[in-house]
């Protein structure tokens, strides 16, 4: 690690003030990506602003419309939440398969989506359910939030405070994990979402994306067979030693099919 100033923020406003005044200051939530990055000297922030001291950011609540998850809620809390399990069981299931127990007990939903790792699980849930991201400044539809590889719509002094997931009909997430990292090589979230059927894919491309053709097919007939014959192009998909673009494209269909079957 390089030296940096450490500040434990007492409020979102205080944290936003610091990162707003200094482009090289960086927010720390669960630190599951950022701490290893610092340890490997791949980042040299001036100040690390720790959000773990900000109270009231980790709540999980449900009402008739859906579930709201505080930005600092740990994955394990979402996975274990009775409210989430009752309202959107697919979301609890997804959270229960993020990383490993250590990651789930430290990692936060806010940190995950703000980082927008192309192989993270949560982006698929947000886009797949048509969620809304709440920040200290505004609300952003999930479709508009994830803008590219490790890129989001967040401004420099903008901090995720919560994510609201509308209730959905049938929904499920299927992930084909990278054998080494256990991140998603391909993860597909399918849902009869509040605004219609959604199919969101993570891991396959540089950023989470939806598959319109599958959504239309499932809207017409919600069954695994509806998507079994639908493929996506391998063009532009990720390639690494674990999966070629063609393999990823193939897995999108397989995982979509299995997600629909899992959703029932």
């Amino acid at each position: 690690m390089y030296n940096f100033e450490y500040k434990k923020a007492g409020s979102v406003d205080e944290a936003a003030g610091i990162v707003g005044a200094d482009d090289e200051a960086k927010l720390l939530a669960g630190g599951m990506t950022y701490i290893p990055t610092l340890k490997q000297r791949l980042a040299a922030p001036t100040t690390v602003v720790d959000l773990n001291g900000v109270g009231g950011m980790d709540g999980i609540s449900a009402d008739g419309n859906g579930v709201t998850v505080g930005a600092m809620a740990r994955h394990a809390a979402v996975a274990a939440s009775a409210e989430v399990a009752a309202a959107i069981p697919a979301l609890a299931d997804l959270a229960s398969h993020i990383g490993d127990p250590q990651v789930r007990n430290r990692g936060t939903i806010g940190g995950s989506i703000a980082n927008n790792d192309p192989a993270a699980d949560y982006p698929a849930a947000l886009v797949g359910l048509g969620a809304t991201v709440q920040t200290n400044k505004r609300t952003i539809a999930a479709d508009d939030f994830f803008t590219g590889l490790f890129e989001t719509a967040l401004g420099q002094d903008e901090i995720v405070t919560a994510v609201s997931f509308p209730r959905a009909g049938k929904a499920a997430y299927m992930k084909f994990p990278n054998p080494a990292s256990r991140y998603a090589i391909v993860g597909v979230f399918v849902a009869q979402a509040a605004d219609g059927v959604r199919v969101a894919v993570t891991g396959a491309g540089p950023c989470v994306f939806r598959v319109a053709e599958m959504e239309a097919a499932l809207a017409a007939n919600w069954s695994a067979d509806s998507v079994a014959g639908l493929g996506i192009s391998a063009d532009g998909l990720n390639e690494d030693i674990h999966a070629s673009a063609e393999y990823r494209a193939h897995l999108v269909t397989v995982m979509a099919k299995r997600a629909v079957a899992k959703a029932g």
């Binding site: 490997q40 054998p179 990292s181 030693i241 999966a243 393999y247």
Partner: protein, 785 residues
């Protein structure tokens, strides 16, 4: 068998401290005034070193010293300790390997300079400020291409990137058999390169006492005395009597901590220059880049059979990747630890093996759990399984047709080994039962109904461990002896300290050795303490590797115990006023034959230290040392049967069942042995399905972290069914055979044979390790196309 003697499943006494964080590892050692080393490492796989500018870095806060290769001119280069003679009669080419690079770097991660500073962060900051002028060269990475014309040349002293070409067997005779064979099975495959991944990374703390002129090196080592010997004799760092090497608790080795690496040489040398203790602990990324890797063979193998399925001959051509330099024992691995095992469990008539050992711009490759024997078992067992499929024979039956029969021992193989004993067919039968072989077809049909492909695979491996005898090893090129020492020291109050030259880094010696001592001397197990790993305490020792600690180290303990008993007999005879010949020893008691006059060994020990009434001319004390040089290798063998299910849609392979029946001779502690089997199979499964050190064309390690290098996890392996069919070895006093590597030797072939069996149904003929989902899926696509 006593309750805690030989054969008892005693829970490992060392585990409490390990699992409660009370272990003492090298990185736990901190010395007053300690400084920290950070190595400047080449980011390039192949480059000239045009200059290293340390001026700015040297002026940074806390920096004590910065050294480059030229500063260490007085220190001898790193060596390879096993000389091989080339087929043309010349010695192997072992180009100089300076601890810090001089003039040229030959792999990414090679140390170019070392910064020593008061804190680790200061050392890292300064290391980043060292300016190195590299002249980039093309890299040679693929071993199969390394000797081809037009490839970049790594060492002037090794033209064509060839260290040596070596062969075993009568080529003309074997060729003639092939020409007349009814059937020939031919395979080409790679044995994938692996990263050792001990849980504890390599680490050392070097100290120099200017008052006494004594150096102390604390190091995560499998063989501290070998470190001391090499560092004294070859690097000239200090005479042996002024160099103490301590290997405290060590968190796994798997071979990777046998070798003498640049870091410990540099630190030991530098500590006397900066007059401060220096610590270095590898970060995980440094472990990936600099620990000696394992395996990395490219092989063509052929098996000739007659019309009855008898194995007539085998022909094997292997290119072994040595990496950029010859590591400490690298040359022995693809030669004497490999080709000598190609007979497997079979009566194959003739065997010829040719090996080219080549240099590439990758980190050196050396012994890794099994070292040569997993590669050999993979060659033999893949060939046998393919031959069975090609000739329409049951793979178990074909093996049984060719097993060395139980009454044929001692059995001379065509590849210079003499097997002492075994029951290959018995282990096979037991494994077939354990695996539920009879129900396989029904399980396969069930899988098929669910859209899955099920396959079964066998591996009837044999291995040679406890490398020996020293004279034979020496005649084959070994630079060291391969005996072991034990010192049993009774204290006056009757408890016992065993000092062993082996080293425990996960094997459970503190428990198993205490069981041997308790059993042989009849002292309570709790009163036996096992001490290892400190050259100032142990007479000498060759360390632990090659599954040698039971057969060689354990035998030394038995010899030392015999000496204790012999001396005790004299003391007891004197005290009990009997003739020595009339004294019997059993269960810790010296008894006058035919009487109830007896003396416990603890009383004997007390008498030896308080010799008021004592045999005339007998030395006081009860402290005996023995050195044991083995008569032969020991030959563990067995049959492993693996059953897999493939999801053809995703290419995922899951291991559904795994049965292992091993002959390890007498088991000292079945619980520890079973754990060794589990761990070994886990590593074998890792090689077969998960692990792969991948370099790109420029020599960059692509799978350089756990994000890309797949370690086996609990959900990758099944619950094993383990059985034993021990035939006691007649060649050592315990009747034991090594068990530490067997799982890693057997499992790759068992798993891959099962994968091939499953994929045969969809027309896939060949797939390489690791059989990742991508590879399996791609193979299915290619077969369908």
């Amino acid at each position: 068998m006593t309750e805690q003697g030989i054969g008892a499943a005693v829970a490992r006494r060392e585990d409490r401290r390990f699992v409660t964080g009370q272990g003492h590892y090298t990185d736990d050692i901190n010395r007053r005034g300690q400084t920290y080393a950070c190595f400047v490492r080449s980011p390039h796989a192949h480059a000239t070193l045009n200059g290293v500018d340390t001026a700015a870095a040297g002026a940074m806060p806390g920096v004590r010293a910065i050294f480059v290769g030229e500063d260490m001119a007085e220190v001898g280069p790193l060596i390879c300790g096993w000389a091989i003679t080339d087929v043309n009669g010349e010695p192997f080419r072992a180009p100089p390997h300076p601890a810090l690079a001089i003039g040229k770097v030959n792999y990414a991660g090679e140390a170019v300079a070392v910064v020593i500073a008061d804190t680790l962060e200061q050392a890292k900051d300064a290391a980043a400020a060292v300016e190195v002028d590299y002249g980039l060269l093309d890299a040679v990475v693929d071993p199969a291409q390394a000797t081809a014309g037009g490839q970049p040349q790594i060492h002037e002293a090794a033209p064509g990137n060839l260290s040596f070409e070596w062969a075993l067997g009568d080529k003309a005779a074997v060729d003639a058999v092939f020409d007349g064979a009814a059937h020939v099975t031919s395979l080409e495959f790679a044995n994938n390169r692996l990263v050792p991944n001990a849980m504890e990374p390599r680490a050392c703390v070097a100290e120099y006492d200017a008052g006494s002129g004594e150096h102390t090196l604390h190091i995560a080592s499998q063989n501290p005395h070998v470190h001391r010997l090499v560092m004294s004799a070859f690097h000239g760092l200090a005479p042996e009597h002024k160099l103490r090497v301590v290997a405290p608790d060590v968190g796994g080795g798997f071979g990777s901590k046998i070798f003498i690496y640049a870091e410990e040489v540099v630190l030991t040398w530098a500590a006397s220059r900066v007059r401060r203790p220096i610590k270095w602990t590898a970060e995980r990324s440094e472990s990936f880049l600099t620990d000696a890797h394992g395996r990395d063979h490219v092989t063509t193998a052929e098996l000739a059979l007659d019309s009855d399925g008898k194995f007539l001959a085998m022909r094997v051509d292997t290119t072994a990747n040595m990496g950029a330099y010859l590591s400490t024992f690298a040359s022995a691995v693809p030669t004497y630890l490999y080709a000598t095992l190609l007979a497997g469990q079979y009566t194959t008539g003739g065997i010829y093996c040719n090996v080219k050992a080549v240099f590439t711009n990758t980190v050196p490759v050396d012994a890794y759990r099994g070292a040569g024997r997993p590669e050999a078992a993979y060659v033999v067992e893949r060939l046998v399984e393919a031959a069975a499929a090609e000739t329409g024979r049951d793979p178990a039956d074909l093996r049984k047709t060719n097993f060395v029969p139980t009454d044929a021992f001692p059995y001379e193989t065509p590849v210079i080994m003499q097997y002492d004993c075994g029951d290959f067919a018995g282990s096979m039968d037991q494994a077939l039962d354990l695996a539920g072989y009879g129900g396989f077809q029904a399980r396969k049909a069930e899988s098929k109904a669910g859209g899955r492909l099920r396959g079964i695979g066998f591996s009837s491996y044999i291995e040679a461990c406890g490398v020996a005898p020293s004279a034979a090893a020496g005649s084959l090129g070994a630079g060291v002896g391969l005996w072991e020492s034990a010192n049993i020291r009774f204290n006056p109050t009757g408890n016992v300290q065993l000092f062993t030259g082996c080293h425990s880094h996960g094997q459970g010696h503190e428990t198993a050795y205490a069981q041997i001592v308790a059993d042989k001397l009849g002292v309570p197990y709790e009163q036996v303490e096992v001490i290892h790993g400190d050259s100032s305490k142990i007479p000498f020792g060759m360390g632990t590797y090659g599954s040698r600690s039971a057969a060689v180290g354990g035998s030394a303990i038995v010899k030392a115990a015999d000496k204790v008993i012999e001396k005790g007999r004299k003391i007891a005879a004197h005290t009990l006023e009997a003739s020595e010949d009339d004294i019997e020893f059993a269960g810790g008691n010296f008894t006058v034959k035919g009487t109830d006059k007896a003396m416990n060994i603890a009383e004997v020990a007390f008498t030896a230290y308080v010799p008021h009434n004592y045999p005339e001319g007998l030395e006081p004390g009860l402290d005996e040392t023995a050195f044991y040089d083995p008569l032969n290798f020991s030959f563990p063998a067995g049959t492993h049967i693996c059953e897999v299910e493939v999801d053809p849609e995703t290419g995922s392979v899951s291991i559904e069942r795994y049965a292992a029946v091993d002959d390890f001779g007498v088991l000292i502690n079945p619980l520890i042995v079973e754990g060794q089997v589990h761990g070994g199979i886990g590593q074998g499964v890792g090689q077969a399905m998960l692990e792969h050190a991948v370099y790109d064309g420029a020599g960059q390690l692509v799978s350089g972290s756990y994000m890309d290098y797949t370690m086996p996890r609990a959900d990758d392996v099944p619950s094993y069914d383990v059985g034993f069919n021990g035939v006691p070895s007649p060649l050592n006093p315990l009747g034991v055979k090594g068990c530490g590597e067997a799982g890693a030797i057997a499992a790759p072939a068992a798993v891959m044979n099962a994968v091939h069996d499953a994929l045969r149904d969809v027309g896939v003929g060949h797939i390489e390790m690791p059989a990742t989902p991508l590879r399996v899926w791609q193979a299915i696509q290619d077969a369908a196309a």
